[in-house]
Amino acid sequence: MSSEPGSGNGDRDTPPAPEPLAVDPTAYAPSVGERLAIYQRAGGIVTPVITAVFAFFMGGLVVLATGHNPWKVYKGIFTGSGLNWFFHVGNYSITIPGTDHHVWFWWNTSIQSNAAYNLQQTLLLTTTLILTGLAVAFAFRCGLFNIGGQGQYLIGVITGLWIGTSFPHMARGPHILLAIVVASVCGALWAAIAGFLKALTGAHEVITTIMLNWIAYWIGSYLFGQGGPLQNSTNASVPVSNTVVDSAKLPVFWGNPVLQGLHIGFFIAIGALVAFWFVLNRTTLGYEVRAVGFNPEAARYGGISVARNYVVAMAISGGFAGLAGVLDMLGYQYRFGVLDVQTSQLGFIGIAVALLGRNKAVGVALSALLFAALLYGTSSRSIDQTVLKPELAGNLTLMIQALVLLFVGADVLIIGLWQWRRRLLPGRLRRTRAVAGAD
């Protein structure tokens, strides 16, 4: 097309670095989506692993400084979480569901196994964290920071409980389906409020979702409180809801249902992961969401409605979180009280899950497993009291989570690690980011 060798590349263009003062200050700062694009490109699995290791290391220092043995603590957490179950390989058998036929299996799935029980509990939490993680991740892909997962989760809990504790004569299938649909839709609507406000008025979604979290918190405290409309009808002095009726409980496929086994909600969560990936990468909606997340202006110029995508992305995110809430209720918790409303953190942990998982399906799955293991392994039902008191262990979890967030957010750290891997950075990235290292 052009006759001059090399000039067709335009490589005498102004590289962004040497003419920095030409940048208009109120334009084009890296959006949330762009920064996350960097996270996504930078590191595959290595960077999240290093981040997690670093966070655990720092947590271990705190443990050490207060007179406990970090190695024993972490080992205890590992055993307590049931992840050691994968390492006990032997000759066991498994029953094919629906028949009496036994088949050889190399892992011990019997009800007696302690490790199996722990793993079931961990996987219960993993189910929830996958979904609250997806709630944050999907919004991030659209350039939105959804801190409202906790509130959306609570809305899912509330509405799911309402359906689940009513209609005792409904058939099982429709009852469960109804609860799931209503809870997810309500979670979606709760999040969509923030989406609408952003689309119509430009209100920052961080502020609005935080406010909505607290509004949900107080609504829940009211509803389940003494004299509240959703308080249980049996014991008026206990601020807890009714129990989910049997016809709405999710079937347990592994473990002892009496002792809280793993329910089929686990597969729903896996399905959600697949749906997440499929929607984002193989549908027109996902294309739009990603375009808006990376560059809303270009998306507009391409004919995409940014406002509509904000609302839809928030709604889908809220739907995931609401789903998490109802699955917990129908799956194993069966009731919720004011105290639960006020101490629940699962929505917030979703933020760390999503960020550590780089907002991608596989990442979210793995990091949900990690955090669930941490949560359960440090809980009072599981941790060995002589190694570390459960209350301390619970706070340790919070600290590790915080550290993960701190490190995940740091560009320079990630880029540093990325460069350490000695791969070539994409061109523009090299030009803009590497200047930081030039000073």
Partner: protein, 509 residues
């Protein structure tokens, strides 16, 4: 006039990763002169001046001010030595007043704790009267004109007792009339004993205002010459290193039917002011219509309305007879409009998307790329491969992220996308901004090719050269109205007059 230099830069070298921005550059400035620093984008002019102003530190070389070698670690040091700089993009805080902006970081105080606003105001008024500026010290920056904002920037330097003033592309944002006023101010400053460095890439201005001219190319100083004896052609050759084709070869126009009809269009800008006030024109098949005007006279809002990104307050936009006045961007694209936007990185491309994904930005939801809401990556990639080869895009394949490409190639991708959709009308807004000469030639050739295949092209540009060389008809926009229609053999002078209101202002240059 061969006085001792007040400023000398010796052997300045600055390396950025991948780019040698300044390569042993020597530069000197004499007392009372206007010394122009000329070069293309990326030649290193701004870098050199940023080093002088203390915003960067040079890797090698030294700075000598009035015979004393100095080292600057921050603008403060440069300011202390009497050096002031007016940046191309103003470093002014919109919500603060003129006075606050001027005294920032050198605030007068009452008792060392409180801000002495009244005292600051008085001093600002003193200085502006002394040099003949007419500025309201209590006005907010966001409420005054661009020309006035530039004067505030100059006042900032004067407030700090600068003797050396650096101006970085000062006329980029001014009308020709305001530019003339600026030159008068500069002459006044020189008469008061200041020395001025004037960075530009505009040959005609440099020839008008400068006493001496230094040309930089690719980080090296090519030449320093006196104004007498320099011509546009010789300067251009020094800047670029080869004979520059200042005009594009094209066949004469043979326009056909009307493709786009704009009638009495009215559009409001983001602040609620009327930016387009009743604009009417047509774009016919096989013609290039150029719209010339200084930045900020309604071009952006006009294009937004024509492409469906902004709803007009009145009037009509028709493409091939279909009324698209109140339709959104999608509808406009469907109706046969193509749009090469002003800022390819902000608006034209999603840099994190692959080239293939960028190439389907308008068509991702149509057959054959999409069915029942799902997307087929394979088909998208295949199409991309073809387009990338047809348009000779270098730097990556269909799956490369767009950010990896150079500016010229990125623009090629944008052009490829728009042109390959076979639009009836192509709107090109600043299509060659920030590109080097080779890429500019490519884009110009594409636009002419579009015209020759019978499409209509609307070119909106701030570069008069481009307008003059490409357009079959030239319209001038001023304060939201079309104030003149010209044929391509009009002179820049005439265009300049039209761009400032059609000769209503008294004696321009």
């Amino acid at each position: 006039m061969d006085a001792a230099p007040v400023l000398e830069l010796r052997g300045i070298t600055k390396q950025f990763p991948g780019v040698l921005a300044n390569d042993h550059v020597d530069f000197d400035l004499r007392l009372g002169e206007v010394h122009a620093l000329l070069g293309e984008n990326g030649a290193g002019k701004s870098t050199l001046m940023n080093i002088l102003y203390g915003l960067y530190s040079a890797d090698e070389g030294e700075i000598v001010v009035n015979g004393k070698t100095v080292a600057f670690s921050s603008p403060h040091d440069a300011i202390d030595q009497g050096i002031g700089m007016v940046h191309q993009h103003f470093m002014l805080i919109p919500v603060m007043t003129v006075t606050e902006n001027i005294v920032l970081a050198s605030e007068p105080t009452k008792g060392r704790v409180f801000l002495n606003y009244a005292g600051a105001r008085k001093r600002v008024e003193e200085i502006s009267q002394r040099f003949g500026f007419a500025i309201d010290p209590d006005a907010r920056i966001q409420d005054i004109t661009v020309g006035q904002q530039q004067r505030v920037e100059i006042l900032k330097a004067l407030y700090r007792d600068a003797d050396i003033l650096i101006l970085d592309e000062p006329t980029a944002v001014l009308t020709p009339q305001e530019a003339t006023e600026l030159f008068a101010i500069l002459k006044g400053l020189v008469a008061e004993g200041m020395s001025i460095i004037f960075i530009s890439h505009k040959l005609n201005e440099v020839l008008e205002i400068a006493d001496r001219i230094t040309v930089l190319r690719r980080g090296k100083r090519i030449d320093t010459i006196k104004r007498e004896g320099a011509t546009e052609a010789s300067l251009a050759r020094s800047m670029v290193g080869r004979e520059v084709l200042l005009r594009v070869d094209k066949k004469p126009a043979a326009p056909g039917e009307t493709l786009m009809h704009v009638d009495d269009l009215r559009v409001f800008d983001d602040r609620g002011l009327e930016a387009v006030r009743g604009v009417s024109f047509d774009v016919r098949a096989a013609e290039i219509v150029g719209i010339a005007g200084v930045d900020g006279n309604g071009q952006t809002e006009l294009i937004d309305a024509l492409t469906g990104l902004r709803r007009p307050a009145g009037g009509r936009v028709e493409i091939e007879g279909h009324d698209l006045t109140n339709s959104n961007a999608d509808a406009h694209l469907e109706a046969g409009l193509g749009h090469i936007p002003e800022d390819r990185q902000r608006r034209g491309l999603v840099l994190e998307f692959s080239l293939a994904e960028n190439l389907v930005l308008h068509d991702y939801d149509k057959e054959p790329y999409s069915r029942f809401g799902t997307i087929s990556p394979r088909r998208i990639v295949n199409r991309a491969r073809k387009l990338l080869s047809d348009y000779d895009v270098r730097g990556g394949g269909p799956r490369t992220p767009a950010s990896a490409l150079s500016g010229g190639n990125q623009q090629k991708v944008v052009v490829a996308r728009e042109v390959s959709r076979n639009p009836r009308v192509l709107i090109a807004a600043q299509p060659t901004r920030g590109l080097d000469v080779g890429a500019i030639e490519f884009v110009h050739r594409q636009l002419v090719a579009e015209r020759d295949t019978g499409r209509g092209v609307l070119l909106v540009s701030l570069e008069l050269d481009e307008i003059l060389s490409l357009s079959d008809r030239i319209l001038v926009i001023y304060e939201g109205r079309i104030v003149g229609e010209f044929s391509p053999d009009v002179t820049e002078q005439e265009l300049g007059i039209a761009m400032t209101g059609g000769g209503r202002d008294e004696a321009a240059a």
